[in-house]
Amino acid sequence: MIHSLFLINNAGDIFLEKHWKSVISRSVCDYFFEAQDKAGEPDNVSPVIRTPHHYLINIYREKIFFVSVIQTEVPPLFVIEFLHRVAEMFQDYFGECSEVAIKDNVVIVYELLEEMLDNGFPLATESNILKELIKPPTILRSMVNTITGSSNVGETLPTGQLSTIPWRRAGVKYTNNEAYFDVVEEIDAILDKSGTTVFAEIQGVIDACVKLSGMPDLTLSFMNPRLLDDVSFHPCVRFKRWESERVLSFIPPDGNFRLMSYHVNAQNLVAIPVYVRQNINFFETGSSGRVDITVGPKQTMGKTVENVIVTIHMPKVVLSANLTATQGTYTYDPVTKILVWDIGKLNQQKLPNLKGSLSLQSGAPKPEENPSLNIDLKIQQLAISGLKVNRLDMYVEKYKPFKGVKYVTKAGKFQKNWELACHEGLLRLTDLVWSSFTLMKNIPFLF
């Protein structure tokens, strides 16, 4: 299935390669670089690239391209999902999935990759099992290791893999038994100029941090499970019980994991927690523009809106911005043309405002449309959908654990004013003409 893996950084260096079958020369990555050049943005690199002898399936995460080499038919999602698991495992092991972290821990990375795939087919991808096989590095352990020469490799081989509960390691023991659940919700919304909701939906996840001894069997129930429109579960959740009773019954993995993701289908009834009044104008004469943005809280159910950040993609002709913010700070990056206004906490009494002028490239025609705004925010202690955890029960084990639930609401893809500015610029004509040709191939064009 998966033949080889190359990790490539933004600069185009291949800084790690791993082969699960016979060795494939790293020159195969040239095809990837070609595609990357063509795509421009890293986001636009096609996840599946065809080369004469191989197929390259790649993902882009944390500024690293994970490029896998495939030789025969395999479901692309299979590979993509696996590569994301690899990235998540690095995150889990080293706290971050970055080039530096991978280079610093190259031996552990190699051992991990060795365990995760056998002959290109996934072998152990559960974090609990891998952590028994290969211990994650800690400062203390690496010090001890250098002194004593002991290793990161587990002496005992994991039993979880052999059990019917492969996601949980055996013999877990804690002095403080605790189970915490974070209910994190994100609002995705598109608002039009007047502030009417074009599209809004709520996505939520329940992330768990469970540190319980033994083999606890947990049951989590909700006050209002009907809110949940669509759900997906960690493999530990017993689907039958959810179907019949709408409770989450599971034997948890040890440590942090995502218990469930859900979607609340409230359509346009989603309470939008903030409102934005903006006025961005460009003038024909004097090549300048004016900005006036005010943000205020709307339906916040008595909670404070925090970490408010407004991001605006300005038209290309905007050279610089000279603004004053009554609250927070703003930055304008003239290269990426992104204006970021970091407001922080929203104040009910004194609404934050950003005002000032923009200077445009002289001679260029004024942009036609106003740019759109992206808003980022966070509300503690509130799940905007109103989802509430009712209770958590534990069976099998006897001790009394600490239990806790935390609610957070965030803005996901929160977009105000879906109005995009046109800009002048070089167009890749060749591409376009080519695409027109292919579409027109059945037109009798001869005469």
Binding site: E73, S232, F233, C422
Partner: protein, 1032 residues
Amino acid sequence: LHSASQSELITSTESCFRHLHSLLPDDFLNIITLDLHDDLKEMLDSNKDSLKLEAMKRIVAMIARGKNASDLFPAVVKNVACKNIEVKKLVYVYLVRYAEEQQDLALLSISTFQRGLKDPNQLIRASALRVLSSIRVTIIVPIMMLAIKEAASDMSPYVRKTAAHAIPKLYSLDPEQKDQLIEVIEKLLADKTTLVAGSVVMAFEEVCPERIDLIHKNYRKLCNLLIDVEEWGQVVIINMLTRYARTQFLNPNINGGEKAFYEKKAEAAALAKRKPYVMDPDHRLLLRNTKPLLQSRNAAVVMAVAQLYFHLAPKAEVGVIAKALVRLMRSHSEVQYVVLQNVATMTIKRRGMFEPYLKSFYIRSTDPTQIKILKLEVLTNLANETNISTILREFQTYIKSMDKDFVAATIQAIGRCATNIGEVRDTCLNGLVQLLSNRDELVVAESVVVIKKLLQMQPEQHSDIIKHMAKLTDNIQVPMARASILWLIGEYCEHVPKIAPDVLRKMAKTFTNEEDIVKLQIINLAAKLYLTNSKQTKLLTQYVLNLAKYDQNYDIRDRARFIRQLIVPTDKSGALSKYAKKLFLALKPAPVLESPFKDRDHFQLGSLSHLLNAKAGGYQELPDWPESAPDPSVRNVEVKDSVRAGGTVTLRGRALGLSEESGSGSESEESEEESESEEEEEEEEDEEEERAKKKKKVDKSKPKKPESAESDQSSGEEQKRIRKGGKDRRSGTESESEDESESESSESESESEEESESDTDIKKKKKPTPSPQVTPVNSFLSNSLVTDLEGLSLTDTVLTIAPSSSVRLYELLHRITGEGLAVEYCFSRQPFSPDPHMVAVQIQFTNNTTSEAKSLHIEEPKLQSGMRIKEFPEIEVLPAGESVNVVMGIDFCDSTQAANFQLCTHIRKFFVSIQPPVGELMTPAFLTENEFKKEQGQLMGMNEISEKLTLGEKCQSEHVIVERVTSTANLSRVPCGSDKESRFAGKTVSSGSLVLVTVTRKDGAGALLTVNCEKMVIGTMLVKDILQALTQ
């Protein structure tokens, strides 16, 4: 240091290559590492594990960076047997990487792995197999084959899983091993653990995906295991089962499916014949068991289920996948990309499914371009009369995007909506015309191209648009757009008779500076105008053709020459020029704007081939539905015991066999039948158990009483002696009080027993009463009977020589509780040679599973004091589907208490018990009439039990009586002078006490049964049993 390194560098070409690059700082470091290899070698040779580890870590880091470390092979391979686990692991990593290059040296390590394969620790066995199979060295293929075969029947499922992983490795190394590997795959497919299932199906897909017949027997098991298999295995299994289902089941959408278009005729005829569609229960099973997996967190699993539903489910049920797929759209952009490709294909066939989720496909400014374009594709596919206005409004905002590729795609999409939905064609056209005045040239150009296509559909109404476009030629520079405009004007020149010649004039001026496609269209325009309006354009045309004649591009020169010949009539130009007008101004069909995803669904959705729209290597075609369903019975798994020996073959077994043979019985019916009969059986068992319990209670109380009476006076040793040697005791050193107490107690019991047990016992005996042809007489007995019973009629002899094999069988372990292992026993009535004081019990093991049962033996017998068991020799292997007979001996101490013990296989233990009917506790004794009378005379009084009875209707004749009595108890017949009397004699097996039975017939059906036995308990019970046998 430097000179040393240089000399080393120049030795090999590879190093020379490095040398060339050594100017770069990174590779300068490389020289140093090369030099350090000596250090590494030293470290590897040292005795300290920490040094070795450090060296290995550095080597692995080199490998990871893609640096060559092959020259260290000899130094590394030495450490393959290192005790330190981490060093060992890193050596494995190194070995797998370089073994292919250094085959000879790699062989040195093989013996270590071969040793590892025999390790008692399953994880070490597994890892040894894993590394061994990863070393790609052809010489060791036979060793690998052997190792895989062995591991495939390992006790540990984890090792078996590793074996499954090793199969494709070996196959890629040596495809000639295919046949042998298929055997291993077949074996592993039968494995019942979830751990193995995913891996073996993966091996199946890589080695022999065409052997669909291997799946039949495992189909239901795979369906049922699916939810517990790990995620990656689920994907592989679901994809394989999709293909399987396409070959085995009928199309659920057969009536009024999409194929109705060209099937109509055939259908009308076929419909009459065709039975109404009924979904195969196995088909339903697959759909039902995969549905919960739509809730998986793993996108690949969700996609696999989605494609399964798309390809296999009835139309009405496919809808469930939409929600799950929409969920995946909120995942990483790569996942979105793949999912959208598949959704795009699905929306063409089943638009309705995604319509409720229209808004989820709205495009965000932050989406990458490739996602935007795919969403646009989906939105276009979803457009219909009701939602088109919403979609067009959405499109309008997209046109303002900064992303030009996306804008161009949006304009194309608008064009497609316009062609597909007639009602909005004018609106779209107007919108596009407005775009013609857009400041962005690209938008204009794309619009021109799309408008051209739309105009072709209804040109006459839109001459003003054509005029408007004609004006654009002054400004627009995009060649494709210019070419499109020129073609339009030429094609519809009669709608714009005044403008057309003027455009040609302008074009003639700029001809030399135009792009090739524009030049071709100028020539086209000129030709068309010449044909319709030669007066105004004759000179212009000739001018253009002359320019073209000397063009650099030979296509254009060629075209010019060709057109000149065609349109300008000369002497030489033949008949063709007459038709020039027809040729050039023929009505051209309007273009069809199609989705690029049309007809992509002939590839299995979710596959790489579907994504690329081209067959990838190793892609397995998704077969078409069969016309008529193949035999569904191939999936029936025969758990039923095929080797159940005669005697008590139940009706159920036969009925099952019948239904299977006829093939009409579907699985569900069959299983119902099975479960019903099982229930019945269970009920029966329950009753039996209850009865047995009752009996036990009574039995237990009986022997205990005398014991307890004795226990005060005599030691344990004495007890034994007493219990064994009944006669010694009788002859009497024991006190009278004991005898008395014993007899008293047993008497009182026998009375109460008669009352309490009579009903239950009758019930019990009803069942085991053998049918007439089942005469439980063994050959030994029958022989003696033949000799002894002179004067019997011919029929009698026939009866007495009835087949000895038809001894009644008792069930020890049902095949359900025994997980496929069925055990039955019978009392063979043969003397048990190792110990004459034991009753021989013949046990028959039948292995109904598909795998071997190993080391069958007995453990931990729980016996009443004094009872003994002589175990049968351990059965080492019982192959699947076979049965074996063994004999064991049990000394029941002349009591009917059960002997409890554990029956063990290599994996399981079962608690079982054998309880003998009283008649089996004796062996025949051969007495003459005189001896019989003498013995009888000694067993009078308390030892004689007489019972009057009425013989059953069928029990009137002498030979029936003989038969009934001998079948109830293992007695021999004693010759007798009177034909009214039948006499039988035997001895208890354990103590050898005599048992004498006399049946005296009276007038009519009346009779008298007398039993003389010093063991009064046995006597009492025997009377009851015989009584029952005779009264029926």
